[in-house]
Assembly symmetry: C2
Homo-oligomer: 162 residues x 2
């Protein structure tokens, strides 16, 4: 049986052998895996909202070693910095899909901070430490196996939250 | 040294021996751990947005055995049902902190579905299975140890996303 093959998107070319088989208009169609951006910024925003809704203080643990990171270096310890990003502690907070920025006071002086989302190692509540730590490779793993078209029989590559 | 002790909130009384020590107005103060609601509804909304933003189809895996769950029983397999909750497949979708509801067509007939957030076992993209699976106990674990007041020295009870 002949298969139609879609041209792989650039970010999919690292997994050229992974395809899911679908049928469009009666024609079998080999589709490359759908590439998605990182879920990390979405999770960060969700946990920030969760922590604030619970009246707690959201903290970000940031890797200060990345070149693009702009944070007060005098508060960096072991290459990392813990930042209080509660609404009362920061101004002009922007949680983008690519980067995070805000201004905050350090030692009485207002500073503008900027860092890419990839520099965020964890988001958690100061009061009890509840939150989430991120690994380096979230959001871009290939699917573990070619996915069948039927949703009820497929085995999703799900991640466990305990 | 005398300690002031805050009355534990009802949901904290299951962990009566876990306190974090703080100082208010110069007086040491033993505070019960801050109780938070489940992060699951926040994560579900975040992953839903992430999947839709990437042009994929959000699927929910729902435990149909819970008493409050109202789903088409004829589509339940092994006590679970997979639901397509893409914007084009449902109407009046409501992702609350306590429950999820929407209407959708099954076999040509519009049905209203309702289930508590606790019934959601997973949210993932149909196209590649990327998403997250939930355990039964997320969101209400006690902190692993009494948390010190200093944020830079505490050890958060973080969860790993790989």
């Amino acid at each position: 049986m002949a298969w139609l093959t879609a041209a792989a998107a650039p970010c999919c070319q690292q997994y050229p052998d992974v395809f899911c088989n679908r049928i469009y208009f009666g024609v079998p169609f080999r589709q490359p895996p759908v590439c998605m951006n990182s879920s990390r910024p979405y999770i960060i925003r969700a946990l920030y909202e969760w922590i604030v809704d619970n009246g707690c203080t959201p903290y970000l643990l940031v890797d200060a070693n990345l070149e693009e990171v702009q944070v007060p270096t005098e508060y960096v310890e072991n290459g990392k910095i813990v930042l209080n990003v509660s609404p009362s502690a920061v101004r002009e907070l922007s949680f983008g899909n690519e980067d995070i920025s805000f201004s905050a006071r350090f030692g009485g002086t207002s500073r503008v901070l900027y860092f890419p989302v990839t520099a965020v190692l964890a988001v958690y509540a100061r009061e009890n430490g509840k939150g989430m730590m991120f690994s380096d490779d979230d959001g871009m793993q290939p699917p573990p196996e070619p996915a069948p078209a039927s949703p009820s029989t497929k085995k999703p590559s799900l991640k466990v939250v305990k």
